[in-house]
Structure formats: structure tokens, C-alpha cells
Amino acid sequence: MDNNNLTILHEDYQIKFDDATQMVFCSGSLMLNGSQEYEPIFALLKDAAAINNETALSLDLGQLEFLNSSGINVFTKFVIHIRNLKTKPLSVIGQQDIAWQVRLLKNLQRLMPSLDVQLQ
């Protein structure tokens, strides 16, 4: 798999996978219309998770400014995907002082109790 392709740069949002740190960074505003428009982001997340099967992956949402409910759906689907793999450790990073991020991470942990939640 070509790791260099695991980047989506858009004027409103950026999703980047860093192979060295096994970290996916998300930034900007995600306000896309439904699952279809979110599919490239979901595919990137799944591809990043597949690169080193059992190596821990981190998902940094701390720089995400806005997320609509279809965007919430992408991250809940991804966490359920990882949970179902059973072998892949996952950390999700958010900011302690951003209320919706705290809430989102709490909901994600409800879906995957072993999820490592890091509020910074």
C-alpha cells in the first residue's frame, strides 16, 4: 500500500496519516453531506489501520473545529470497525476544553470500552 496517498487536503478540512507515528491528524471543519461524501475519509481511516495490523493507531481530532452528525457517524463507524478487528489498539485524542470533543470521545469509548481516550 502506498502510504503517501493517505492524505486528503481540502480547503475546509485536512486528513493526514503519518506513518512514522502511526497517527491520523484531522483538522478543519467537516460538514459534508451524508455517508457518500464522507466515504473517502472513511476509506483513508480504514487503510491507515490496515498498514500495520496490530500496531497501535492514534486518531488526533484535537484540531477539528467542527463536525456535523454525518461526520460523527464516520468516527463511530471507524471505532466499531477497529473494535471488531479485536487486535488493533486505538487511541483518540481530543481537547479537554472543547465540550463537543469531550462528549464525542466519551461516546466513542462507550462503543469500544478498550479505546484509549486522551484529553489534552
Binding site: D12, S29, M31, N33, G34, S35, Q36, E65, F66, N68, S69, S70, I72, N73, T76, K77, I80, H81, I98, A99, W100, R103, N107, R110, L111
Partner: protein, 198 residues
């Protein structure tokens, strides 16, 4: 016939401070109109924020995101705008209206749109499930369902997130809009406490 469900405040809203946005859902292609959501949601959020100044946050309860927090008004406004576009009956000329009202201690969002019988039946089922179950259980259940059902285009999480994450109260009025009863005028109300009640 008008049917009312959930928490629906029937006092005349026009006596409150309000902001109304109207649009004809079929005047622009949805892809083009979607881009206006960000502008509209930002404007509504900035506009309403002025009315919050000096009001103590009602939400000392850590269970919910406070409506005073960054992006809370924007999130709910944007979800309503998205729903208005997704579920409006394009064959109808009647405008979709979204109103934002400040009642003193409550912030009220009211979406009024036309919908087909099919959309209304779907909404009716959603309301029945919501009134009979724990919303948070439904929220998690919907997330699990979406993870299995690859074909679903709408997440079904928007209204549930308003209840479960923001502590919003939801209500609906469904009204037949023509003699055949095949089209409906739907009012969706979302209310949130603004101030601490002593």
C-alpha cells in the same frame, strides 16, 4: 388535523425575540445550497450569541454540552438546515422556514417544511421509538446499525445527538396539507434551557 408529539411549546413565538430564515429548497441544486449551510449556521450562531451575554450558563450538569459552549448553536442550526434540505419535498413550492427564538430562559429552534407521506411515515416511526425508549440507547443502537448497514445514506444521528449530547427537548407537529392527505406540513421544535432557574 394537527398531531402534536413530544415537547412542543405552543405559545405565540412571534412575541419573542426571533430570527427567521426562509428558502425555497428547489431553487438551487442541493450541492450548491449545501455550501450555504456553513454561512447560515455561522451567522445564526454569531447573532444568537449576543443574546447570551450576561446570562449564566444553565448547564452546570456535566452530562450535556452547554448551549453556551463554542459551536453548540452552530451544530444544532447546521443539523436543522441539513435536515430541511434532505427531507423537503422538492415538488412543493412552499418555503422551508427555520426560526430561532429567545424566550428569556429558553432558546427555541423551529423548522417548518413540507414532506411526502413516505418521509412523514418514517418520521412518525422515529418519534414513536423515541418516546418509548431511552434516547441514549437509541443513539448507540443507531451507531451500531450504521456500522453494519453500508447502504444507508443518512446517519439518523442528528436529532438523537441534540437530545443525548446537548440535552435538547424535541417536539413535532404534523399537519395534513391537502385534501388527499398525502402531503404534510411538519414543524420540528428543539428547545434548550439558556439560564439557570432559581
Amino acid at each position: 388535523m394537527v398531531e402534536t408529539f413530544g415537547t412542543f411549546i405552543e405559545q405565540p413565538l412571534e412575541q419573542m425575540e426571533y430570527l427567521l430564515i426562509g428558502f425555497s429548497a428547489n431553487s438551487l441544486p442541493i450541492q450548491q445550497r449545501w455550501k450555504t449551510n456553513r454561512l447560515s449556521a455561522d451567522f445564526i450562531s454569531d447573532y444568537l450569541r449576543n443574546f447570551f451575554t450576561g446570562i449564566d450558563a444553565a448547564d452546570s450538569n456535566q452530562d450535556f454540552i452547554s448551549i453556551h459552549s463554542d459551536n453548540a448553536v452552530k451544530y444544532i442550526s447546521n443539523e436543522l438546515l441539513e435536515n430541511a434540505m434532505k427531507f423537503h419535498d422538492d415538488q412543493k413550492a412552499r418555503q422551508t422556514r427555520i426560526g430561532f427564538y429567545i424566550s428569556g430562559d429558553h432558546l427555541i429552534f423551529l423548522l417548518q417544511n413540507m414532506a411526502t407521506l413516505e418521509t412523514t411515515t418514517h418520521l412518525r416511526h422515529f418519534i414513536e421509538r423515541l418516546l418509548e425508549n431511552n434516547p441514549y440507547d437509541l443513539y448507540i443502537e443507531q451507531m451500531e446499525k450504521n456500522a453494519i448497514d453500508e447502504s444507508s445514506t443518512h446517519s439518523g444521528l442528528g436529532l438523537l445527538s441534540m437530545i443525548c449530547d446537548y440535552g435538547a427537548k424535541l417536539g413535532w407537529q404534523l399537519e395534513h396539507s391537502d385534501v388527499e392527505g398525502t402531503d404534510y406540513h411538519i414543524s420540528t421544535m428543539i428547545s434548550l434551557p439558556l439560564a439557570v432557574k432559581n
